[in-house]
Amino acid sequence: MTNQQQVVNKIGRQTILLKLNKGPEARFISHLDLMRALERAVRRADLPIAYSEGFNPHMKISFASALALGATSEGELVEVVVTGSFEPEALMNRLNEHLPLGIQISAAGYSPEGKSLADSVEWAEYILGIEYGGADSEFNWASLLDGFWKADEVMIERTNREGRKQVFNLKPLIRDLKITGQKGSLVVLKALMKAGSRGNARPEDLVKGLALIGEAASLTLRSIHRVRLFGDENGRPTPLDQGLHTINEKALPGNDQGDEA
């Protein structure tokens, strides 16, 4: 990728890629509301944002992928189109002054040319908190994951937006699963799952699939945290944020900006 260089297109617009944190204070903000909050912050910050043409012009802001309600994230990606030349760092800093509690830009850079951001998304990495609520005191997470990888297919049911039920195989949509921590009945899983327009697995789907493998084990999804979004280069997941060169130190993970009294 050659996204280090500034790309100003013919009509004097340039696209800036931002990486965004959604902290616990904002985890109940829906995707639509998050977009609205960002637009309002852009207007407050008085940034030279570009508008779409047409009867009902709207700001050129696009998200890579919608995050589920209730989830936190340190890896959301947003593209904004500005008119004229504007340093990503200046844009990030100005925007951060106008963003509500719980939402922070953590990195910025020029957007690479080529495929649209939303179309580039292939994989998403999550950290999931899952609780075992059954009676088996010897419940073995490691063998559960083993069972998952050994299965030929993991057929689960999902209700789509129109309310219709579909059955699909979850197995090819999960790339990586790792136990990173365990405390009592709660396990912390790191999962790399398919995302985007060419197949998408939700954290709920994974929990359903694991419950199935564990012979109807009682599993509850306790927390969802999205770490990073990935594209795909020759079959290998490649981080979509790797070209972001300007980092907001204050918004790095573990340096949570949203502490409240």
Partner: protein, 636 residues
């Protein structure tokens, strides 16, 4: 942030609908240290977040109180039923959004009352907060429960539950109340709760209902309303802010995360209305007209966009087309804010070509639906209500609208207006059909689908208006009229929507009620009544049972006609309008007589400007009353 409540909320919020309602961390939220101020105010709205956040009055109060160093204000709205049930299950008390502090710990809890059918929500919120419902049972540590807003002028059914009402404009009186509270607090709270009320009652606009005794005759009519102690005025005057330019309105109102009912920034261009539509409670209870100067309006609009980032600014008032500088201000702002992707809008339009022209200027590109409110179907009935809209106005307005590109129209009417006959309902149908014809004639296109939507609401004769002596048309008759309209409006291009008669019957009984209805409210609440404004939540049978329990007849309250010489339950509330004027207006109405606006006609001596130093109609920038009639302004 209260850690205990926060912890439980983490568990509850994933389970409820629209959790963003309960977060309290929106942009421009004010958080202060509770230990560093003397007066802690909770501002409550007895309906859901999306409606409460659209209320300009509460936003103003939030700003006024938080502008002081010695006080803080935090918000609380009625939790929706799913949230309430989770809270009750886990023992979470009603809490403020900003710091999640239990409401019981505030000094004063102030409700903005939007409509009568929110009364049960007030009781429910007090209960959720763990505060005794009846004011007589409250102890020293309980907050004072106060209430304001337009409905507070006739909220007698609430008198058992409210320590005091605040009548009229709140910007000045709120500071006097806080100062009064501080003095009482500094002196060691002499006299306890009553001690504070006895001090507060001397503030103009403060109405302490427990300081009045009401007597009734055997038939249930009121014979007297009188103070029961010294130092209490026989009639309580409403507060009136004389000059809007001397106020500092909020420029950094809270920006909600989620969509709300009025998702726009509001700039109040004037307060009051002297058009004199005889059904209009707001029109008779917020006089005189006081305009904000065009400079202030523009300054405010710019500042609001800068500090909120909102995409729409609305110039609000009871009838913005009547603002003397409306065209200049609208065009200047629309032109200036267009580059920032900000729209300027008018909240409502009068039925005339001038208003359509205005709307057209700010709405050049996208024209969706246009909404107009002729209110009644015949000239005679429109004259009875003094609406002052002629058939010619209607014709011209629609011609202008369809020519300008609007392709659908919503028409609002009321049914059950005084003197209404079936021919007036036929008139509604004719107006709707005429709209379809005008569309066809102007656009040359055959109308497809529902291009006209007719909505009717059931008229409620409101206190403090010339129709206060009228009764609501009985329920069965209202339903017959709705059925008739459904027949008359059967047309492939017309859609008819009507409101729930039962809800408006209950609203009429509460609106026209006296303080004996406190027991009915309490009983209805105990039977599970809440969110009565939501037709899917209204428990009509429970309401009827509650009236029965107490031995009162809702029909008597809603439908009774009252003689001029009777004492009305709200007679001790002085809105500034003379009763003789209202009687006169009622008599003129009965012979379908019109009364023009005092802004361009002579003074009709309604009384609001008399004996009130500084209070008068203010038209900016000319400064005095007379101005050309809006139609005439169009000509120049």
């Amino acid at each position: 942030m209260n850690p205990d409540i926060s912890k439980v909320l983490d568990e509850i919020l994933p389970l409820v609908s629209k959790p963003a309602r309960y977060l309290g961390n929106e942009w421009n939220t004010v958080r202060k240290d509770h230990d560093k101020v003397q007066v802690r105010f909770a501002l409550a709205f007895p309906d859901v977040y999306e409606i409460g956040m659209s209320n300009l009055g509460l936003a103003i109060m939030y700003h006024e109180i938080n502008s002081r160093d010695d006080a803080l204000a935090e918000r609380v709205y009625a939790p929706w039923v799913d949230m309430e049930s989770e809270m009750r299950q886990r023992g979470v008390p009603l809490f403020s959004l900003e710091t999640r502090t239990p409401i019981k710990r505030f000094d004063i809890l102030g409700f903005g009352i939007p409509y009568e059918v929110s009364y049960t929500n007030i009781l429910n919120m007090l209960d959720l907060a763990g505060i005794p419902l009846r004011q007589s049972l409250r102890k020293g540590s309980d907050p004072f429960i106060i209430a304001g807003g337009g409905t507070a002028l006739n909220a007698e059914p609430l008198t058992d539950f409210i320590d005091f009402f605040v009548l009229g404009d709140g910007e000045e009186v709120i500071h006097e109340i806080i100062d009064c509270f501080k003095d009482w607090d500094n002196q060691g709270r002499p006299g306890g709760r009553v001690g504070f009320l006895e001090r507060a009652v001397s503030i103009t606009g403060v109405y302490v209902p427990s300081f009045y005794d009401v007597e009734y005759d055997v038939e249930g009519w009121i014979t007297s309303i009188a103070p029961n102690r010294s130092g209490v005025p026989a009639r309580v005057s409403r507060r009136i802010v004389a000059d809007l330019d001397r106020l500092t309105p909020p420029t950094s109102p809270i920006v909600p995360w989620t969509g709300i009912v009025f998702d726009r920034m509001m700039v109040e261009v004037f307060r009051g209305c002297s058009r004199g539509c005889r059904f209009c409670h707001a029109g008779f209870t917020s006089r005189p007209v006081r305009e904000r100067s065009p400079e202030k309006v523009k300054e405010l609009a710019r500042e609001l966009v800068r500090r909120t980032g909102h995409q729409e600014v609305s110039l609000v008032s009871l009838a913005t087309n009547d603002y003397s500088q409306v065209r200049d201000v609208l065009c200047e702002l629309a032109g200036e804010l267009e580059d920032q992707g900000v729209n300027v809008s008018l909240p409502s339009l009068r039925v005339d070509a001038y208003s359509i022209g205005l709307a057209n200027e700010v709405n050049k590109v996208r024209k969706s639906g246009l909404t107009l409110a002729p209110e009644a179907g015949t000239q005679r009935l429109r004259d009875v209500i003094n609406k002052g809209v002629t058939d010619e106005d209607y014709e011209r307005a629609l011609t202008a609208a369809f020519a300008a590109g609007w392709d659908s129209l919503k028409l609002y009417f009321m049914i059950g207006l005084p003197t209404e006959r079936d021919e007036d309902l036929h008139g509604i149908a004719e107006m709707a059909k005429r709209a379809v014809d005008i569309y066809h004639r102007v656009t040359g296109r055959n109308p497809r689908g529902h291009i006209v939507t007719v909505s009717t609401a059931c008229f409620i004769p409101k206190p403090h208006t010339p129709f206060q002596w009228e009764g609501q048309v009985p329920l069965e008759e209202l339903e017959r009229r709705q059925r008739l309209l459904r027949l008359l409006l059967r047309h492939r291009n017309i859609q008819y929507r009507w409101n729930d008669t039962k809800g408006s019957f209950i609203e009429a009984a509460l609106s026209r009620g006296d303080r004996r209805l406190g027991d009915v409210l309490h009983s209805a609440w105990q039977k599970g009544c809440k969110f009565d404004a939501w037709s899917d939540q209204l428990k009509y049978d429970a309401w009827l049972a509650a009236f029965k329990d107490v031995g009162l007849d809702p029909g008597w309250y809603a439908n009774r006609r009252v003689d001029y010489n009777r004492v009305l339950p709200w007679d001790h509330i002085d809105t500034g309008i003379r009763k003789e004027f209202l009687i006169d207006e009622h008599m003129v109405a009965m012979r379908a007589g019109l009364r023009d606006d005092c802004r361009w006609d002579r003074c009709h001596i309604c009384g609001v400007c008399i004996d009130r130093p500084g209070v008068r109609t203010r038209i900016k920038p000319h400064g005095s009353v007379k101005m050309p009639k809006p139609g005439a302004r169009d000509e120049k």
